[in-house]
């Protein structure tokens, strides 16, 4: 078994890391491609439609066709936009989205997983950097819908990051480690996935992570009916594709974090680890699409008070209960 951290940083190790990065990138692009397909198909079925079925068998190549369309579109930069910032923003948004995948344990053998001692915190800290890309892109577009969308997005992401982080603390307390690999192993050893003892934290996590992903019912930053498309109104072609890619990579990463923290990651009977991980991540992603087809959008004045007055106290109560149980029972 190969361990990144146990080996010295030399030529072959660097080469291994690069190969690992490329493999994960290809895997991620595939997952993103088919989560978009699955989203359209599932929502289609829920709404009594067929969904994409023209490009390739069962429409399986629909997303690829869409991506090619975006790639060969003209790359428009608005005349009044801040050019340098406009071009840089999608990159700033995407890089952290892909980097957080380094901490997610995909399989039992940690082939491409960094064994970082602060894995869960690493995820929360890096996902905060994406807000910069969103805000700068919104500001650089020089468009009022973009700016309002960007501001909403930043305010929402910052506010919901706190209940999200605090709901993770409950799991960390139970496992006694912030290392995601250790958290999975602690669950595998106790034979009880944390979704049961941490049910309160789990509920907070589900709501806060939906808001972090800006998905329905928290898709206010992209509310089409009031903001055109929010922060990426002015973006087109490849750069727009980058923002969309960021969104779906986060969906995958959040599904991985969810599976790791609450459903025991790769651990499970009979099936191999990577398959268990895939099933759990698929559950989360499908749940998000189901929500999207079911829920109306929240009002903007309810959004903040819901985070600070409902989710945050719930997360704190969860931490106190977990700590008391852990210390005295």
């Amino acid at each position: 078994m190969w361990h990144w951290e146990a080996n010295p940083l030399n030529g072959p190790a660097v080469l291994g890391m690069v190969i690992g990065g490329v493999v994960i990138l290809i895997l991620t692009l595939l997952v993103v491609m088919y989560s978009i397909y699955w989203q359209r198909k599932l929502i289609g079925w829920i709404q009594w439609r067929i969904g994409p079925n023209r490009v390739g068998p069962f429409g399986l190549l629909q997303t690829a066709a869409d991506v090619i369309k975006l790639l060969i579109k003209e790359d428009v930069v608005p005349e009044k936009a801040d050019r340098a910032m406009f071009l840089l923003a999608p990159i700033i948004a995407f890089v952290p989205a892909f980097t957080v995948l380094a901490a997610i344990p995909f399989s039992a053998h940690h082939v491409f997983t960094a064994n970082i001692s602060i894995g869960a915190l690493f995820y929360v800290a890096l996902s905060a950097i994406t807000i910069h890309g969103v805000m700068l892109g919104a500001w650089a577009s020089n468009n009022k819908y973009s700016l309002i969308g960007g501001m909403r997005s930043a305010a929402q992401l910052i506010s919901y990051e706190i209940p999200l982080g605090l709901s993770i603390v409950g799991v960390v307390l139970m496992a006694g480690s912030i290392n995601l690999n250790d958290i999975v192993e602690a669950q595998a050893k106790s034979g009880l996935w944390y979704v049961i003892p941490q049910i309160l934290g789990f509920i907070v996590f589900m709501i806060a992570s939906t808001a972090e992903l800006s998905r329905t019912p928290f898709d206010l930053p992209e509310a089409e009916s009031e903001l055109v498309a929010g922060y990426h109104t002015e973006y087109s072609g490849f750069r727009f594709a980058f923002f969309m890619l960021t969104e779906y990579v986060y969906l995958f990463a959040m599904a991985g974090l969810f599976a790791t923290l609450y459903l025991g990651g790769w651990s499970g009977p009979l099936l191999p680890g990577w398959l268990w991980f895939a099933i759990k991540a698929f559950l989360y992603i499908s749940f998000q699409f189901w929500l999207q087809a079911t829920m109306p959008r929240m009002r903007v004045d309810q959004l903040m008070s819901f985070s600070w007055k409902v989710l945050l106290p719930l997360a704190l109560v969860n931490i106190v209960i977990t700590a008391v149980v852990k210390a005295f029972v």
Partner: protein, 176 residues
């Protein structure tokens, strides 16, 4: 001290170059929003240095608090307030000269302190004492430095309450 080109050393030079580059850009940009982005780069570079030194927790906290929260706060302040988009051209005033002198003095003091500190001789000294990094930080905070830790949190609360009171008084003035 050995200056062999081993991997951590190369990493350090790359990160240091990145930090200094961002710092120089921060000083040379004319537009305030670019400066905010450059200072974000400086914070991320500092976090990378912490992680390189084996202080994972401090590095990620730096990323979360400085690169995440504080840079966004700066951006919000720039985007939502009325101000000149670019800095006025530079002039040597008394205040600027005094600031320059103070900056040079601060640099000298920092250099003195760094030079007079006895660093651990072994390069591979384990700062974490055999524990994983967050455990080591936790033990240090709650065993050796409990009182300073509590005092710092008190200071933060006082600062927060102060900010709330300042913001509140201004609102009441507007209503009258």
């Amino acid at each position: 001290m050995t200056f062999f080109l081993n991997a951590p050393m190369i990493g350090f030079y790359i990160i240091a170059l990145f930090i200094l580059g961002c710092a120089v850009m921060l000083l040379s940009f004319q537009r305030v929003i670019y400066m905010a982005l450059a200072i974000g780069g400086v914070f991320i570079g500092c976090a990378a240095i912490y992680i390189l030194l084996g202080a994972d927790f401090v590095g990620v906290a730096q990323l979360l608090i400085y690169a995440g929260a504080i840079t966004i706060l700066i951006m919000f302040a720039i985007m939502l307030t009325n101000h000149e988009a670019a800095d006025p051209p530079h002039k040597w005033t008394v205040r600027n000269i005094l600031s320059a002198v103070a900056a040079v003095l601060l640099g000298a003091v920092l250099l003195l302190v760094i030079r007079s500190t006895t660093w651990p001789p072994e390069v591979e000294a384990d700062v974490n004492g055999g524990n994983s990094n967050p455990v080591a930080v936790g033990l240090a905070l709650f065993q050796n430095y409990t009182v300073p830790f509590e005092l710092v949190s008190l200071l933060l609360i006082v600062g927060m309450v102060g900010a709330v009171i300042l913001a509140r008084e201004r609102k009441e003035d507007e209503e009258e």
